[in-house]
Amino acid sequence: MKTKKTITTIFLQIITIAFFLLTLFPFFIVVINSAKASLEIITDPIAFPTHWGQIFTNIKTIWSSPSIRYASSVYASVLITVLSLISIAVFSAMAAWVLVRTKTRTSTFVFLLFICGLIIPFQVVMFPLVALFRIINETIGISMLRTYHGMIFAYIGFGSPLAVFMFHGFIKSIPAELEEAALIDGCSKPQIFFRIIMPILKPIFVTICILNAIWIWNDFLLPSLVLGVGQEIQTIPLAIRAFAGSFVKKWDLIMTAVLMAAFPIVVGFIAGQKHIIKGMVAGSIK
């Protein structure tokens, strides 16, 4: 009985390792081919590189490539992701709180409107959105296209339905007596929110930030419409698109670009692995 169990365990262990290596195989391909020159990658894409030093030459080429503009693309991606995350989380929490604590027909209607936003796919609104951004520019003079604030504004709009929904569910479970006590002690409504409610919401905050971070960091279609490919401000996916479009078949450099694009988020994941996995699963079940 015992030996049978050990054999099963060893067998499962081997299968798991095989799947694990298979899953990591594409990463392995990216890494070894980032260290090859253009000829070597064509003749043998699965061999180890002859000179690992080539990887630095390739990285330097990508770093200084005028279509990738690596440093400025990373800066734009970080700026857009971080500011969008904070805005989505804080604004949605504020909205969800007043929606839970105010029981009127208006608040029910607004909440249902946010729920509708959950099922509307991006494809239905993307063309009119660009048109509307242009109209806003022509009528009130705020340029929403090709600007940071336009991009972040769009992310708040697309990110808020899910965030409001998740905060709403959580805030409902916080007893209202807590707030009433603070009110008697002389706290104003905004004080109650920022001093008492916000700290309680921390776990949901983490979940929402992680879910949105992976989405925003990797998003291509929305920034391609709002910022445009090959324009002044470009995020990393836009940069990769601009580069791969102009250097078709320069696989050695495309692989290096892919490696450099994946690098920040993989490092980020390894650093905060525990929170990220927990947060993402919690987010999906809600």
Binding site: L12, I42, V124
Partner: protein
């Protein structure tokens, strides 16, 4: 009286940032889109669209490539849902067993999910074009060496499903892992004492216990397969071409890409918008139907 007025002010002030951006970015464009889909809208500034009624919808349904795209999207969605869930469930079973380094494996299976669809599409394009033939040459198998995955319509669809499964199975696995860890161990042990074998335990205990997870995972995989865009854009860009009802069609131009191409490549914004609305309706019907069906199943179990 003053307090009530103050409460109202706080209500609107707190609501404003999220609500205004949501209205401007989602709700107003949605309504505009309904209107545009029934006009000859061109998106050119200053040109006022004129009403054409259901013309765009008629044009779309008489277009062979649209019907073909619909079929291919359904096929892709069906196969992806099956593939992703089978792989994810297998991974989940493995990493919840008593094996060494299971947290490492979990993380490894999950990592592809962090790579965006666009970047991932380029990685797999390289694998299919260069790496697969090289592996064939290394193994001395001519069939693999000469296999041009991205040149054949059906192989290409298979390639897309493989790339998408690679990206998404790790995430779905995490949901199954969370569900499996909630299955009471005593129940499994008790059934083992009663002589239940692996399959009996699986069918009678484990699967019913994780029914709620199935509702979530099938919803997520269904919706995300149906909406797939980024991977296709970078991996195949809709190609290769195929013949359908005596017309040349793009074999992997699934609906999301079809909508995009009609609007930008063929410069027909209004019809692209009409297609997007049909896309929305079909997606809503199948996703709501799916959740309804699964919820019913959950109760029965």
């Amino acid at each position: 009286m003053k307090k009530q007025k103050n409460d109202k002010l706080v209500f609107w002030l707190f609501l404003a940032p999220a609500l205004i951006s949501f209205l401007v970015v989602v709700i107003i464009p949605f309504i505009m889109g309904l209107y545009y889909s029934m006009t000859d809208w061109t998106a050119i500034a200053g040109v006022k669209p004129t009403w054409v009624g259901l013309e765009n919808y008629k044009a779309m349904f008489s277009d062979v490539s649209f019907r073909y795209s619909f079929m291919r999207t359904f096929l892709f969605t069906l196969l992806s849902v099956i593939s992703i869930n089978v792989v994810a469930l297998t991974f989940a079973f493995l990493v919840t067993r008593e094996i060494r380094f299971r947290n490492l494996y979990r993380a490894g299976f999950f990592i592809p999910n962090l790579i965006g669809g666009l970047v991932l599409g380029y990685i797999w394009q390289f694998i299919f074009k260069s790496v697969v033939p090289s592996i064939g040459a290394l193994l001395g198998i001519e069939a693999i060496e000469n296999l041009l995955i991205l040149a054949d319509p059906n192989w290409t669809l298979f390639g897309l499903i493989l790339a998408f499964t690679w990206q998404y199975a790790g995430y779905i696995m995490m949901i199954y892992v969370a569900a499996l860890l909630n299955v009471p161990q005593e129940l499994l042990e008790a059934s083992e004492i009663d002589g239940a074998n692996f399959w009996q335990k699986l069918v009678n205990i484990t699967i019913p216990m994780i029914a709620q997870a199935f509702t979530i995972t099938s919803f997520l995989t269904l919706v995300n397969s149906f909406k797939q865009f980024d991977i296709i854009l970078a991996l195949t860009n809709g190609g290769p071409t195929a013949m359908y009802q005596d017309q040349v069609v793009n074999s992997t131009e699934l609906l999301a890409l079809n909508i995009y191409n009609v609007a930008f490549k063929y410069n027909n914004m209004a019809e692209g918008q009409a297609r997007a609305i049909i896309f929305f309706l079909v997606l809503s019907i199948i996703s709501i139907g799916q959740v309804y069906y699964n919820k019913k199943k959950e109760v029965e179990m």
